[in-house]
């Protein structure tokens, strides 16, 4: 038993933390918040050059070949910003989906560019009026003379505007089992008929994508047609704990903000942290943070050591999504007025916590899949 990070991971953690302090201070994060993709090219390229986008991609495809835990160390620090941008969408979920679903040739074609940052992926699975799960994939791809024609709308797609390529889940065969008959198609976003726009509101970099007679060669299907969902599910199982670690980092940031504010904000002639009602908020925040942290670490460890991890991954996502959401609520209780000022920085997290609560399935979805995974 050893629940500490190893030396390389500690070093990596310090390196990323330093980078965030120097390159992404609050002034920068507030600018990124107004940026169309959250990742201006110069910042994206710098981070890709540091190797943090391609960490999970095996070395033979131009990546770092790191473990999930190594990668989580980086995302926890990025989550403290929170640093927006398609790092997770492309470098984690996109890359893992190509790794799980793609042929050898497709992996060789796509992954080195993803690691380098010259291709940016976004997986487009969800559709309007559909609950999360394989049943949501209804968009059709009509085969004709060695091509597929896509028509329809994908909704709530993270970082689709930032992406250069979309991995689109389409239904290529009807089936009793909704997880069967789904194919994953790589679509160059510059193709005619593809349009993506960012949805406005209290959410970040979540998009609507429309396909109007978009024609791609049949070779754009990753791996075997009809077998897309199981591959995507395997990719999600590994990707989700990385997303959770980003949420853990977010919890840590709002925890630090709240403790600091409890010491420096004076009311009734004393720091507000002397009031037990204020302390209660921070204690509940702490419990949510640590619950998110340890469920996530255990899921990462199980995956990295090839143990069955399904129920732990669902647990981590349910707990971390709820945890980040609630941690932000408690932080707002502590901060009151100043917390809702955009330039203070707390609302960056609050918006992110709401956005990620839904990402790849909400807590109720994961609780129910956890019950399935536990054979109840």
């Amino acid at each position: 038993m050893d629940l500490s990070l190893n030396e390389q991971q500690e070093l990596l953690k310090r390196t990323v933390a330093d980078f965030m302090v120097h390159e992404c201070p609050k002034t920068v994060l507030l600018e990124l918040d107004r940026h169309e993709t959250g990742a201006p090219p110069e910042l994206w390229n710098r981070i890709a050059a540091l190797g943090w986008v391609g960490m999970l991609i095996p070395q033979q495809y131009g990546g770092g070949g790191n473990s999930l835990t190594d990668t989580a160390v980086v995302y926890e620090e990025l989550g403290k910003g929170p640093l927006p941008g398609p790092y997770f969408s492309s470098g984690v979920l996109g890359a893992l989906t190509v790794l799980e679903a793609g042929s050898e040739e497709q992996k060789r074609q796509i992954l080195p560019n993803v690691a380098r940052g010259s291709q940016i992926l976004s997986v487009a699975a969800q559709e309007p009026a559909r609950k999360w799960g394989p049943g949501m994939v209804q968009l059709t791809a009509t085969p004709q003379n060695g091509t597929l024609t896509l028509n329809g709308t994908k909704l709530f797609i993270h970082d689709a505007v930032a992406a250069t390529h979309l991995v689109v889940a389409v239904r290529t065969q009807a089936s009793q089992n909704p997880a069967q008959g789904i194919s994953l198609v790589v679509v160059d976003k510059s193709l005619p008929g593809v349009s993506a726009r960012t949805l406005p509101g209290f959410l970040g970099w979540v998009c609507e994508v429309k396909f109007e007679n978009v024609r791609v060669p049949a070779s754009a299907v990753l791996g075997q047609a009809g077998n897309g969902w199981p591959a995507f599910a395997r990719a999600m199982e590994k990707a989700i704990p990385i997303l959770c670690s980003y949420q853990v980092g977010g919890c840590e940031a709002v925890f630090d903000m709240s403790v600091e504010y409890s010491r420096t904000r004076i009311q009734f002639a004393q720091p507000i942290g002397r009031f037990q009602r204020v302390q209660d908020h921070i204690i509940h925040l702490t419990n949510h943070m640590d619950a998110a942290r340890w469920t996530t670490y255990e899921a990462l460890w199980k995956l990295d050591s090839d143990r069955p991890a399904a129920s732990s991954v669902h647990l981590a996502k349910a707990v971390s999504s709820e945890g980040y959401y609630q941690a932000c609520n408690y932080a707002h209780e502590v901060h009151a007025g100043i917390g809702i000022s955009r330039e203070y920085g707390l609302t960056l997290h609050t918006k992110m916590s709401r956005t990620l609560y839904q990402c790849l399935g909400d807590p109720l979805y994961h609780k129910r899949r956890m019950a399935d995974a536990l054979d109840l």
Partner: protein
């Protein structure tokens, strides 16, 4: 990171040794029953006999120094011992021993060489069972306001006062007690600890009528008692950690009592609840196939899993001797408030069945009904949830720039 203890061939050999030892030495009549107050005297004597046998091998207090009768074993060996004891539904020690579990580490940190030699070997070898006496009718959460006095008189201290919510059923050998040694000194500078022989004249033990037995961690503590001291004369050598230094000594054992030591092991309540729901039907199908029940079971499971992970983390921090801060009281708070939340979820699942002990309808031999009561009883031992939150706040440094440190452990 590694959440699992990985065993070397030597450790696997140790497990075999423990298994064969327990196979021979755990008597058949030593069963865990829902009604801990119903443990017979005969069963209690079996627990003590097993304790002495474990103590003889240094396995009763495995991580403590050999020179005082501990096992001198490492974390992994201790986990093996606890896992194997758990197979029989037993913990270490296999009986209620609050004063030993919490007093011994305090003595190891604060006792003189002579006191370590006098007090530790009988505890570690299982020769004595010790209860801890803290709470008084007028001093609960405000422990520093205890009124029981121990006044110096020649070579002795003379104790007078009353302690409450103490111990367990059946007999006890020693009492680990906090008392006022200087009634005129300021708060926190007036207290001392004593390791007393329970058979001293003037000590009266009187059982209390409570909702149920309960203890920190639900350690099967049997009934609770009042203990009265009427001019009890104890030798000066019974005072541990220096006269009027008792509040500092208390930080060590309170750290342990507040969950700082950590815990690993399976959750029997979950196993029992799941077993019942999988083997019983509601409206013609297994209870676990009902969506509402599945959702409630997952609420319980998440609560338990978070508590388990807090316990595992604390266990690691303690045994790997890492820096600790608010983790002990956090774990205690989670377990206490979590048990109450879980009791609520269980009643939503089982309804009246969660509440009855009627032999025709009882669920899981009464363990579920017992949990409904012990979840309430378990809220206070070792400090209320509110006290845990206070300690957490100080150690996190909420509203203060200097963070309070966690208590010293040996």
């Amino acid at each position: 990171m590694n959440f699992e203890v990985e065993y070397t061939p030597e450790q696997e050999a140790f497990r075999k040794e423990v298994q064969s030892f327990l196979k021979v030495n755990v008597p058949a009549g030593l069963v865990t029953t829902a009604a801990v107050e119903a443990i017979t005297h005969e069963q209690y004597l079996m627990q003590r006999e097993l304790g002495r046998k474990l103590g003889g091998k240094g396995w009763l207090f495995p991580t403590y120094p050999k020179e005082y009768g501990g096992g001198g074993l490492n974390l992994d060996q201790t986990i093996i011992l606890e896992e194997e004891m758990d197979q029989y539904g037993l913990s270490l020690p296999p009986y209620y021993n609050s004063g030993g579990n919490l007093g011994a580490p305090s003595i190891l940190v604060w006792g003189t060489d002579g006191q370590k030699r006098q007090f530790l070997p009988p505890i570690f070898k299982g020769e004595v069972r010790v209860w801890q006496l803290l709470t008084e009718p007028g001093a609960g959460s405000d422990l520093a306001s205890v009124k029981t006095t121990a006044l110096r008189d020649g070579d002795d201290y003379v104790l007078s006062g009353q302690k409450i919510f103490v111990g367990s059923n059946h007999e006890v050998d020693w009492l680990w007690t906090l008392a006022v040694t200087d009634p005129n000194a300021p708060r926190h500078e007036n207290l001392s600890w004593f390791m007393l022989d329970a058979s001293l004249p003037g000590i009266t033990i009187q059982p209390l009528d409570l909702l149920t037995a309960g203890g920190e961690g639900g350690a099967g503590s049997g009934v609770k008692n009042s203990v009265f001291f009427d001019d009890v004369r104890a030798p000066a050598s019974a005072l541990v950690g220096g006269e009027n230094n008792g509040w500092k000594v208390a930080t060590t054992h309170l750290e342990l009592e507040h969950g700082g030591g950590g815990h690993i092991g399976r959750n029997r309540l979950w196993e029992r609840l799941l077993h019942y729901c999988m083997t019983h039907e509601l409206d013609g199908r297994p209870m676990t196939k009902d969506q509402d029940i599945r959702d409630l079971l997952m609420d319980i499971y998440i609560d338990i899993e978070i508590g388990r992970l807090f316990g595992v983390r604390n266990y690691f921090l303690t045994h790997a001797k890492k820096a600790r801060s608010y983790e002990g009281p956090q774990s205690s708070m989670w377990r206490k408030s979590g048990n109450l939340r879980i009791a609520g979820f269980i009643q939503k699942i089982l309804g009246y069945l969660a509440l009855t002990t009627d032999p025709a309808h009882v669920v899981e031999e009464g363990h579920i009904e017992l949990h409904q009561r012990s979840a309430i009883v378990g809220l206070h031992p070792g400090g209320t949830v509110e006290v845990q939150k206070l300690i957490m706040a100080r150690r996190i440094g909420i509203g203060r720039t200097v963070r309070e440190e966690a208590g010293r452990l040996a």
